[in-house]
Symmetry: C2
Subunit: 342 residues, 2 copies
């Protein structure tokens, strides 16, 4: 599968536009500079070094696009592909739609080079290259035909909508980076959905709430029930909403219950836990809605369909599960954003 | 994620029922004993040692089900999860439907032990445990509560329908073994669809056609265009159909065009190749249909939907792509089988 081309000219990613960050950073490939938020738990800080949801925006008339890149040498978990965890995928705009063009396959766990797509027409193409979901990215260079043009393009998506959540937001178990659900939502709607997924660690801690509140967002989606115990849901939901609300008095906040885990189809303990998480979240959100007119709830019903085939491991949606989630979440979110003129 | 329980009693898989083989084998976990077919190409022989599509059928009243298993030490390709390649997933029948119950996560590439599900009601449960898709399986033991009963169950699926094809049939890039498309078709329809996917090697060789013709099938699905060059499609399709037909004069043979590869969205060379493969296949099948009344064709249109989000890498359907394929293939196949009283 190795594809290397000698006749390529490489451009450092830093010369292009990197979209998807909730705040500017000094470390180019980090989602957040957590040095500015010392009280954020260390595991959250670590996960914010992952390049989940980041994408390079550029235009080129090259007939081929290659990538040289280096990541942390860790390999994928058993519920994800290496392409998703430490690889990349490229979209090109055609007839106003972002369309899949190719993947960068990692053949080692640290530094790789791969021709993502070749044999293309030598016309200008607007490109989005999605970065590794579950790894820290150290460097990226984009290779094009020696005489081709490659230039930075602005962010193609409008407004900023934060999606704070668990591994499901982070991107497990999308089969490639561009299929993580915030990325799909952006391409489908034209809004800039920003991936603040922190796998296993979306526990609504006070310091994380404080950090989120500083982010210049037009709306907030809270999909953080799966990682919080039923007790944490009760103890922390109000603080998270109040903290965001204090800095964003009129921004819609859209809370989502946890998917009903297929791991609980027969394991009664898992089923009971999810039920308690979701009941407690519903109670908190309903209570908050008495005084907060800009707080919305999307319930768990039907998020993964009804055949129990929508997960990789009973917890993490596969691409089918994500598609079903978006069929429910997308119209609800678009409705709300439309009502706010966002 | 390691889950080990000391209080388990283990039963060797050989005491249970292994379903999904096209022919009986001496090697318990192989799909075909290719020693009986010496002229089959060596790469096909090797791939038929993979346990793709095999599943253990048993019943137990245990509250937990664990697995100890060993596979070839190879790890997954970059477009698949370790769970799919060398892990397992369990389904339990409830209200007449097979429902996901848990996965066996490989934590090393050779021998592993994992509790697939626990905290279940202590009632009789009919189980199907799908074996690794892309690895040779050497041994499996099923762990249950010390006082629980575990017995072999018969094959729950009726009739035998062979699915001969490429990596797409073999199971790339389903996120777990039970989501390979022949397995999904069996659970959805109750028919026994048998996985004869041979990744990269479904080239309709004469020796493979001879082998397939010996298999005691009620129907045949040929999804073998993706691996055959346009020229091979023209040269070999008629021989494959004639060879099967000679031994199965009245069995429906259902030919499927290749999915239109998303890798060809911008790579004009890939797009041209798939077009040629499918045009040549269409021409061959239409020609054969003049004299073969039991030969059917399912065309490529819409097999992966229209948003180009249905693959992991531009070639291999992800679980969303497989779902879309089945929405077209399932009713077409059911229609044909119904007309034959199968």
């Amino acid at each position: 599968m190795a594809q290397k081309e000698s006749s390529l000219t490489f451009t450092d990613a830093r010369a292009l536009t990197l979209i998807g960050k909730p705040l500017p950073t000094d470390s180019f490939f980090h989602r957040v500079d957590t040095a500015a938020f010392p009280d954020v738990p260390s595991n959250v800080k670590h996960l914010l070094t992952h390049s989940a949801g980041l994408a390079l925006s550029f235009e080129t008339n090259s007939t081929q696009i290659a990538v040289k890149w280096c990541t942390d040498p860790r390999g994928p978990g058993n519920n994800m592909t290496a392409i998703a965890q430490e690889g990349m995928d490229l979209y090109i705009k055609r007839n106003g739609q972002w369309q899949y063009a190719g993947v960068a396959r990692p053949e080692t766990h640290d530094c790789n080079e791969f021709v993502v797509v070749k044999n293309m027409a030598p016309i200008d193409k607007e490109c989005l290259l999605y970065l590794p979901l579950y790894d820290e990215t150290f460097s990226i260079q984009i290779g094009v035909d020696p005489k081709a043009r490659i230039i930075a393009k602005p962010n193609p998506f409008k407004k900023n909508i934060l999606v704070y959540g668990s591994s499901i937001v982070h991107g497990a178990s999308a089969s490639r980076p561009g299929l993580a659900y915030p990325a799909r939502l952006s391409r489908q709607t034209g809004y800039n959905f920003i991936n603040l997924g922190v796998s296993g660690s979306a526990k609504m801690e006070a310091a994380v709430a404080d950090m989120i509140a500083t982010m210049p967002m037009d709306a907030f989606i809270l999909d953080c029930v799966p990682n919080s115990s039923p007790e944490q849901v009760t103890e922390r939901t109000a603080n998270l909403v109040h903290t965001i609300r204090a800095r964003h008095p009129d921004a819609p906040i859209i809370a989502i219950q946890s998917i009903v885990r297929d791991g609980g189809n027969f394991d009664e303990s898992i089923a009971d836990r999810v039920t308690a998480q979701n009941e407690n979240f519903l109670r908190e959100i309903r209570q908050l809605q008495h005084t907060d007119k800009h707080l919305y709830l999307i319930t768990a019903e039907g998020l993964l369909g009804d055949d129990h085939e929508g997960t990789t491991d009973g917890t993490h949606p596969n691409d089918l599960g994500f598609d079903r989630m978006l069929q429910k979440i997308r119209p609800a979110v678009l409705d709300i954003l439309g009502n706010y003129g966002i």
